[in-house]
């Protein structure tokens, strides 16, 4: 993120702690900052678990974080932002992991409202009514 604009002090190489907490989590993605499919993952895109009979725990290609994501999504669909918060991982890392899981068919990502347009009036009316009823 903003790690390259300051603190380079003579060397461009960062090892261990020097790399800082922003970089290290990407070890979980084996350094990838994008998933192969690069699903368009909005912060509020919902990640929904697929077939509950699949057991991600037995898939050795998956990391514990992958398994955690599937477990959380099985309880209820989770937004990308919530998964990042729940696992205490940067959004970018979570996006890559979700991409892996989608490729494996363990989850799918639902994005009902196209980001480019405003939701239609009936939904806005539902939101207003919902807020009033809180």
């Amino acid at each position: 993120m903003s790690t390259d604009d300051e603190g380079t002090q003579g060397t461009a190489h960062w090892f261990d702690d020097d790399a800082g907490p922003v970089v290290r989590p990407y070890a979980m993605t084996r350094g990838r900052t994008k998933s192969a499919a690069q699903h368009r993952l909005d912060l509020i895109a919902l990640v929904v678990a697929e077939d509950p009979t699949l057991e991600p725990e037995t898939d050795h290609a998956l990391s514990p974080e992958h398994v955690d994501i599937v477990a959380l999504c099985r309880e209820a669909p989770q937004s990308v932002a919530e998964l990042a918060a729940g696992l205490n991982l940067p959004i970018g890392v979570v996006r890559v992991l979700i991409g892996d899981l989608a490729d494996e068919g363990l989850v799918h990502v639902s994005r009902p409202v196209p980001p480019a347009e405003l939701p239609d009036e009936s939904i806005l009316r539902d939101v207003i009514n919902g807020l009033r009823a809180l």
Binding site: A81, P115, D126, L131, R132
Partner: protein, 201 residues
């Protein structure tokens, strides 16, 4: 897993998710506002700037605040089983604006939270939403000890388009924040109707 088994055979509800942004200057109460209505404790990453940010962040007028928000604070309101609203507090400082465009994509509207003691702090946010045609309202957070200004004075001072609502609120108060959010959605609806008419006529 018990939950996995009990859910088997049942199609899980996939709610429609929407987001409203909460913008405004440093220390104006964005996270407080989100927390006042959210059903979950807002995600906070404030500690990241507790020390590092101190020489840069001007806390004049907001001496009570020791940390600032770097990443996004967000909260959630489940309006119905199939309708979930997320509130995202935007980073308060200009140098984190690279996060904004992504946040703003697909947002249904925005609240610019203003403090009349430091009104200029929200100029940037007002500018941002105006340029991107994102429907927004200005909510003046009525801090204790701050002089109260009528909404139309704030409207004038910010040089807002006449259609942009200005409301007074208390960011700590759930009822007050609910009203603010309702205003945002109503405004977004007005904007949507106006745009459609502009297209068809």
């Amino acid at each position: 897993m018990i939950l996995g088994h009990s859910a088997r055979g049942k199609t899980p509800v996939e709610p429609v998710t929407l987001k409203i942004l909460v913008a405004g200057g440093f220390g104006v109460g964005k996270t407080t506002l989100v927390g006042a209505v959210s059903e979950i404790r807002p995600l906070r990453t404030e500690e990241m700037l507790t020390e590092a940010g101190r020489p840069l962040d001007d806390t004049n007028g907001v001496e009570g605040k020791h940390t600032t928000t770097v990443a996004m604070d967000f909260g959630r309101i489940t309006l119905r089983e199939d309708l979930v609203l997320y509130l995202f507090g935007t980073p308060g400082q200009d140098r984190f604006w690279f996060l904004w465009d992504e946040l703003a994509t697909g947002a249904l509207g925005a609240v610019v939270l203003a403090d009349t003691r430091r009104l200029e702090d929200c100029f940037a946010a007002v500018d941002y939403f105006e340029r991107r045609s994102i429907p927004f309202i200005v909510a003046v957070n009525c801090f204790e000890g701050a002089e109260r200004h009528p909404a139309d004075q704030v409207q004038q001072a910010l040089d807002l388009d006449p259609g942009v609502p200005v409301v007074l609120c208390d960011a700590r108060d759930r009822q007050s924040v609910k009203e603010v959010l309702i205003q945002v959605v109503e405004h977004a609806m007005t904007v949507a109707v106006d745009r459609r008419q502009a297209v068809t006529t």
